[in-house]
């Protein structure tokens, strides 16, 4: 017993200076005031959201007084629930429709753009890349107003509404796949395609059988980002909407929430919750699938992994 108790105490004595030094560093690095500030910030920014979600499950129509749990504002109420109020119901459909349409069109165009610019390698190609990057720095409002003026003054044959929203969202979102896929193309390099050509594949065969599978994680990441981006989009869809039929969730929540209207406040909370859950589920599912797809690459770092979603 004595031997057993002696050994650790000797070890402690030896290690003491190191521990105390480490401890001081730790205290310096994470002062409690900073921790408190972080918590304050989280509460400040998340509490309203949490309250909105909570009161969307309220059985009464108050948004301040809890009257018991119910799904009334989602499905139960025959007039005001998200399911039964035509405006809210329509908003969910419009959001999903725009998100699916935009993703299906913008991602393939963006991928082809990335492949094209990657092979092209000329001054023109870098000019186009610059235009692509512009979409990231340009304020969305400027872009939206520009498209609005274009459609109302010059291209008047395109009516405001779903078509206009769709066209603008595609243009705004192409840069996501273009930039993500371009980055992955650069890390892939030319040798996989050369190997495919060497083994007998034609130029297009090599793209289909080797390049696209290698690009799949990047394409998938783009799908998630574009889809979630369209669900969250407000500025473009609001500017280009024509009537209640073309107003997606974000616009309904804004107009009815800020200016009041026919819908009940808890039903708007329910709609907001639906929107939030859709975004979170899309991104979470995307993150999980991306991790799965690139598992082998991350384990044996082959210089292929690109982490727009892994955050690594």
């Amino acid at each position: 017993m004595t031997g057993g108790s002696l050994a650790p105490s000797a070890a402690t004595r030896v290690a003491l200076p190191g521990i105390s030094r480490l401890g001081r560093i730790r205290r310096l690095r994470r002062p409690s005031i900073l921790r408190g500030f972080v918590w304050l910030y989280l509460v400040w920014s998340l509490a309203p959201v949490a309250l909105a979600i909570l009161f969307s499950f309220n059985s009464g129509s108050s948004v301040t007084e809890w009257q018991g749990f119910s799904l009334r504002w989602y499905v139960g109420d025959p007039y005001y629930s998200v399911l039964h109020d035509p405006a809210l119901h329509q908003a969910v459909i419009q959001t999903v429709r725009l998100a699916v349409l935009t993703t299906v069109v913008a991602v393939p165009i963006g991928v082809l753009f990335a492949i094209g610019v990657h092979r092209w390698r000329s001054r023109q190609a870098s000019a186009w890349t610059f235009v692509m990057l512009l979409a990231f720095v340009m304020p969305e409002l400027i872009f939206g107003v520009g498209i609005f003026l274009l459609l109302t003054n010059l291209l008047t044959f395109i009516r405001l509404g779903t078509t206009a929203q769709f066209l603008a969202l595609v243009a705004w979102n192409i840069s996501w796949p273009a930039i993500i896929v371009r980055a992955r193309l650069q890390s892939i390099g030319a040798h996989y395609e050369e190997a495919a050509r060497d083994l007998g594949a034609s130029a297009t065969g090599a793209i289909r059988r080797v390049l696209l599978p290698l690009l799949f994680p990047a394409i998938f990441a783009s799908v998630v980002l574009v889809f979630a981006g369209v669900i969250d989009d407000f500025v473009i869809v609001d500017l280009l909407s024509s009537n209640a039929q073309s107003e997606p969730m974000s616009v309904i929540i804004y107009t009815l929430g800020a200016h009041g209207g026919s819908a009940a406040a808890p039903a708007l909370n329910a709609l907001a919750t639906v929107m939030l859950v859709m975004s979170i589920v899309t991104v979470a599912a995307g993150w999980a699938v991306y991790r799965r797809l690139t598992r082998g690459e991350r384990r044996r770092d082959e210089g292929l992994s690109l982490g727009p979603l892994t955050g690594a």
Binding site: Y192, D198, L199, G205, L214, G296
Partner: protein, 381 residues
């Protein structure tokens, strides 16, 4: 697997103003293990890429089994490549990687599975068919790359430093295996490497390249023992090089008499009928060391400068009276291996091992960089 004859006809490749491959000609016979050997940037990889079809030659022609393939795309040539970094498809397992090219040969399902099985057995990877490339070691990946190319039964297999990424031990094992494999399948192998021991071990013939040109082609023994010039002598293994002046040019029957500093030597190798300034080359293992008092022919006296134990032999650096240092390789147990620094010795340079090489400093960038003064002997690195 008949055929596999490759003819390179004045093949040239320029990138902008830079000439990567400068008009090379070669005849490679079917079933031959042919190595392109040279330092990085000598044009060997560019030559291989032109053979594979990844680069279009600026001029010249590539003829494969009598057909001009110079401008055919890679997928239209019966030529396959084993890449330096393998380029195995990471999203496919070993079996699917090997079967990749068979789709373009329109094989039945049964034939695909049979040929893939045979190819994997050939490289002894049968049990690994379900693994992903990331789950294999470097040596195993290299074998998969080999199987993936061989399963297509190409006329010519191109190998771009396929052992470069492996450790020394694995490399030695695979060298022997690769040569045995090549003899078994009987396909022409064109092997690019900067490693002279690799080229010497495996090749039927070696083409030594420098600055986009082939400097010498020959069997390993010939290239090693009878280097055409100082560059080849220096690149293939360690050579002692020294400047000398011809006193009496020789002939086929008579050795050439040269003066290295104040010492007269006889040389039977190389360009024995040369005149004027020449270079002498001798391999360290051909230099013999003798006691100072012994009477030895064709020797130069000197002092032991340093002795280095190399493992399998001992390297003795001798500073010759001609004012220069040469290396000699002696057996570990021999008397010479135990001489301390400062011991006076005689370094014998046997006439049969001493080669007279044309003195062309422009052809040898290594020599220019070293700027060795005239009359100096320089041990090659």
């Amino acid at each position: 697997m008949a055929g596999g004859t490759v003819t390179l006809n004045d093949l040239t490749k320029r990138f902008g103003s830079q000439c990567a491959v400068d008009g090379i000609c070669a005849e490679i016979t079917g079933g031959e293990f042919f190595s392109l050997l040279g330092p990085s940037g000598c044009g060997k990889t560019t030559t291989l890429r032109m053979l594979a079809g990844f680069e279009e030659p600026t001029s010249g022609a590539i003829v494969l089994d009598g057909a001009d393939v110079t401008h055919l795309p890679p997928n239209k040539r019966r030529v396959n490549t084993v890449f330096q970094h393998y380029a195995l498809f990471p999203f496919l397992d070993v079996r699917a990687n090997v079967a990749f090219g068979l789709r373009y040969q329109h094989c039945s399902k049964k034939e695909v599975s049979q040929r893939v099985g045979e190819a994997l057995d050939l490289v002894e990877l049968g049990p690994y068919h379900g693994r992903r490339p990331a789950q294999l070691s470097g040596g195993q990946q290299q074998r998969v790359a080999l199987a993936r190319a061989l399963v297509l039964r190409p006329s010519v297999l191109l190998l771009d430093e396929p052992l470069g990424a492996l450790d020394a031990r694995m490399r030695r094992t695979l060298q022997v295996e690769l040569k045995a494999l090549q003899e078994r399948v009987g396909i022409t192998f064109i092997y690019v490497t900067h490693d002279q021991s690799e080229a010497l071990t495996m090749s039927d013939r070696i083409a030594v390249m420098n600055r986009g040109r082939i400097v010498q082609v020959g069997r390993p023994r010939a290239v090693y023992d009878e280097p055409a010039d100082a560059y080849v002598a220096d690149f293939l293994g360690v050579s002692n090089l020294m400047d000398a002046v011809v006193r009496t040019p020789g002939s086929a029957a008579r050795p050439c008499a040269v003066m290295a500093g104040d010492f007269e030597l006889e040389a039977r190798g190389g360009v024995v009928d040369a005149t004027g300034l020449v270079r002498l080359a001798i391999r360290p293992e051909r230099v013999t060391l003798h006691g100072y008092r012994e009477s030895v022919a064709n020797a130069i006296p000197g002092l032991v400068e340093r002795t280095v134990f190399l493992g399998s032999a001992t390297q003795v650096m001798v500073h010759l009276a001609a004012g220069v240092t040469i290396q000699a390789l002696v057996a570990n147990g021999s008397e010479a291996a135990s001489w301390p620094a400062g011991t006076p010795v005689q370094a014998c340079l046997p006439p049969a091992a001493l080669r007279v090489l044309p003195c062309d400093p422009a052809a040898n960038p290594v020599e220019q960089a070293a700027a060795v003064p005239a009359g100096a002997v320089r041990p090659a690195p």
